[in-house]
């Protein structure tokens, strides 16, 4: 057993109505990569917020490098070299990479005075990005970078200060395979330099790849801590969920029905480059590809969120004009966006408001809305989707991330849509809830609806699609039935050079 960098003893934290952490003990050794795993609501985020000083524990001790910490706030955490990298990016979109990396610590030409030494900061930024092997320009504006690259900038930001304990909260959720490899390479390098890391992830295979030890949290308690080599994925899942998970991808097998959607020669610049395909009732059509390949752009263009340059869309055999998401909604086609929080939720509004927001016409008898029916329908979805919320009038911002996602899914289920496009439906959702999402998709196709699923998780694509499309650099490079699909075939089509 190595030297202990961080020791947490008997930490308890209660929020109104919820015991987020229940006498949690944790030890993190210097230079180890300690994986923290747990379902949504298990307490991981709360634990991290306590470590980084955002919350104060109700009771318990935090001991960093042998010294007991009296009161941990953001400043003391930073001074102790505890640097978090959150899933939600904390970058200023309108500024560039250099400015974001040096945000709050700008380097001036003459110490306290003087103008900002832009050249020096740019040079340092270039060096850090090189360390991460990232082809990002220090002058690139954040809003012009894809989500994957933005995350790399966040990591670069953390590396630009003296870091003792790097906490990575689901860092790979928006990263493609190459970027994940780069990240892990960098993490190993940091490990050699003596940096301790806590790595939070849902992805068990990644935990197995990069972790030294793994701690499982469930319902606010530390259920187990083990060397990664001593446990199997099934062991971890069992600890997380408290029960056996029989099948990870419980896809039902049904005959597919008639064609419901046909996309012909859809074009939007180079990112959606002459794509044609069709989707059927009773079928899950998986769309695979690297991050940045243009899958999200494709589905956004199909539902009218972005304007197409040319191409036609047919629904139920009839050509339709889709210039705005409301046109798609009227024709029975909806998109669950990749970024649920900023694009799918009304955070200041209640769960009920969110769930009925796409289908208010359903509730308007005469002109006035039927609040009772709204409440009844909301209760139904909360129960079916197992959304953990104190009530249907709770503000969406008070729910945990995974439950917020379910609210957005509920909103779309509460429409009379026939074509459901899910962009990364299980991203950021824990193992237990993932199965619930899959069951919902099963139900949809069982009812004869059509599901299109964009996913960056190959196992998910292979485990849950009927047919698979592969997109590379804006073009459709492969189309295959799941029975003839393999990881290699998909990856080779995803990396195919299209120019």
């Amino acid at each position: 057993m190595g030297e202990i960098f961080l020791k947490i003893e008997n930490i308890t934290k209660t929020f109104p109505g919820v015991k987020a952490l229940d006498n949690v003990d944790l030890e993190v050794e210097k230079g180890e990569i300690h994986v923290l795993i747990g379902e949504n609501g298990a307490g991981k985020s709360t634990l991290i917020k306590i470590l980084t000083g955002l919350h104060q524990p109700d009771s318990g001790k935090i001991i960093i490098d042998g010294k007991k910490i009296k009161k941990n706030n953001l400043r003391t955490a930073l001074d102790n070299g505890i640097i978090p990298i959150y899933q939600e990016l904390n970058l200023i979109q309108q500024l560039d990479v250099t400015e974001n990396i040096f945000m709050g610590r700008e380097i001036r030409k003459y110490e306290k005075f003087g103008i900002i030494d832009r050249k020096y900061m740019e040079e340092r930024t270039r060096k850090i990005l090189k360390r991460l092997n990232q082809d990002i320009s220090p002058t690139a504006k954040i809003q012009d970078l894809g989500v994957g690259k933005q995350q790399m900038v966040e990591i670069a930001k953390a590396l630009s200060v003296d870091v003792n304990l790097l906490i990575l909260d689901e860092p790979t959720s928006s990263l493609g395979e190459d970027e994940v490899n780069e990240l892990f390479k960098t993490m190993k390098k940091l490990k050699e330099q003596g940096v301790t890391m806590i790595f939070i992830s849902h992805k068990l295979n990644e935990a197995k790849r990069i972790g030294d030890r793994v701690t499982v949290l469930r319902d606010g308690q530390n259920v187990s801590t083990n060397n990664i080599t001593d446990v199997t994925e099934d062991d971890i899942v069992r600890d997380m969920v408290g029960r056996e998970i029989d099948e990870q991808y419980p896809k039902i097998d049904i005959d597919r029905g008639e064609e419901i959607l046909k996309v012909e020669h859809l074009k939007r610049g180079d990112i959606v480059n002459d794509i044609s395909f069709s989707a059927h009732r009773g079928e899950v059509l998986g769309i695979a590809g690297l991050v940045g390949a243009g899958r999200t752009e494709l589905v956004r263009t199909i539902i009218g969120a972005d304007k197409k340059d040319s191409g036609d869309i047919y629904i139920n055999g009839r050509k339709v004009k889709i210039d705005h998401p409301k046109d798609a909604l009227n024709k029975g086609m909806v998109l669950l966006t990749e970024d649920r929080k900023t694009q799918g939720l009304f955070l200041d509004q209640t769960v009920m408001f969110n769930i009925v927001s796409s289908n208010l016409n359903k509730y308007s008898k005469n002109i006035l809305l039927d609040l009772k029916q709204q409440a009844a329908d909301t209760e139904k979805y909360v129960s079916n989707l197992k959304i953990k919320t104190p009530g249907i009038h709770t503000k969406a911002k008070q729910l945990s991330g995974g439950n917020q996602q379910k609210v957005v899914i509920g909103k779309w289920l509460n429409t009379s849509a026939e074509i459901f496009i899910f962009d990364e439906p299980t991203r950021g959702i824990d193992v237990g809830a993932k199965v619930e999402i899959y069951n919902i998709i099963n139900e949809l196709i069982g009812q004869g609806k059509s599901v299109i699923m964009v996913s960056s998780e190959l196992p998910e694509i292979l485990g849950f699609s009927d047919r698979i499309l592969v997109i590379s650099e804006g073009r459709l490079t492969a189309e295959m039935d799941v029975k003839e699909a393999t990881q290699e075939k998909i990856m080779s089509a995803a990396t195919a050079n299209v120019s």
């Binding site: 705005h324 909604l329 900023t342 799918g344 009304f346 509004q349 408001f353 208010l360 409440a375 429409t415």
Partner: protein, 321 residues
């Protein structure tokens, strides 16, 4: 999830979040009734209600703009333009006064519609810009059509709207209550009303949820113009004339009422009852300070301070959530 639990959350939300301003108003009323013996008299209270009514009407429209994270700087000017054209039509062109009043409302709505179209069709970055432009244009037009002189000679019943009473209660306040009730149903129980909250809370999510955000915004500014015109009708009735310089600075009082009433500049949060209470708080403060003999200039200082206090209390309250 039991019904009881749901109801508790709903009522907690209503009392603490939506009606926080009510406690402020009650507090003021109690304090002032102790300080000045004249405050709680029928005469004075009806005066206060009358004073609040024009602002309450204008602020109702302003609330919609602020709910969508926007603003309408042109309400004062639209008020002036609509009563100028309406007044002229009645007095100079002999148009039936009932039609004349409708013309006032129509001009207000048209100006508001123009605001909405400017914002949505030209894709202007913020309604600050479209309404700032309208503020100038409408004021200029009002001065032009009236040749910078007041229009007087309006029929008696128009006076009644502005200064008449039904029993002890000013008619203008009854009008306000009717409007507020209408807005309550509009904002809470119609599709467009709920869409306003959605667009204000998260415009991109609203768009992706299938809401026609441009249509919603166009309606918002049209209604705001209409409400400014309605406020103008009451004003016209009260002073028995249509002044082209009417409404100067009204937008600021309207914004103050909306904000004191608990709405958020970020959009998506706010109620019509809060706005009414905000308008009443402003009127009560002005009235109270008048009774205490405080100069008008100092009153403005006090009002500014009250705005800060009201919003700060709201900030503290949100932090604890």
């Amino acid at each position: 999830m039991e019904k009881a639990n749901n109801d508790l959350i709903k009522w907690k939300d209503i009392i603490f979040e939506k009606l926080g301003a009510l406690f402020g108003l009650l507090f003021l009323v109690i304090v002032l009734s102790f300080i000045s013996p004249y405050f709680l008299t029928v005469n004075n209270i009806t005066n206060v209600l009358q004073q609040a009514s024009i602002n309450a009407l204008v602020a109702s429209g302003m609330l919609l703009a602020i709910l969508t994270a926007g603003i309408d700087l042109s309400v004062g000017s639209i008020l002036a333009l609509s009563i100028s054209i309406g007044g002229l039509s009645i007095v100079n062109y002999g148009i039936n006064p009932v039609i004349g009043i409708l013309i006032v409302l129509a001009v207000g709505a048209a100006a508001g519609l123009t605001n909405g179209l400017l914002l949505t069709r030209l894709n202007l970055p913020h309604p600050f810009i479209s309404t700032l432009a309208m503020m100038n244009v409408a004021r200029g037009l009002a001065l032009i059509v009236t040749d910078s002189s007041p229009v007087s000679g309006l029929p008696g019943w128009v006076q009644f709207i502005g200064s008449g009473y039904i029993g002890e209660i000013p008619f203008s306040f009854i009008l306000v209550i009717a409007v507020i009730v209408f807005f309550h149903f509009f904002l809470n129980k119609t599709t467009l009303g709920r869409h306003i909250y959605a667009v204000g809370g998260n415009p991109e999510a609203a768009r992706l949820s299938g809401i026609d955000t441009k249509k919603v915004l166009t309606w918002v500014y049209t209604i705001s113009g209409l409400m400014a015109a309605m406020g103008g009708i009451v004003l016209m009735g009260r002073v028995n004339a249509a002044y082209p310089n009417a409404g100067l600075g009204y937008e600021l009082d309207a914004i103050a009422a909306v904000i004191i009433g608990g709405a958020s500049f970020m959009g998506g949060v706010g109620t019509i009852w809060g706005t009414l209470i905000g308008a009443m708080i402003i009127a009560v403060i002005r009235n109270g300070l008048n009774l205490l003999g405080v100069a008008a200039s100092l009153q403005t200082v006090v009002l500014g301070t009250v705005i800060i206090i009201a919003v700060y209390i709201d900030v503290l309250r949100r932090k604890s959530v």
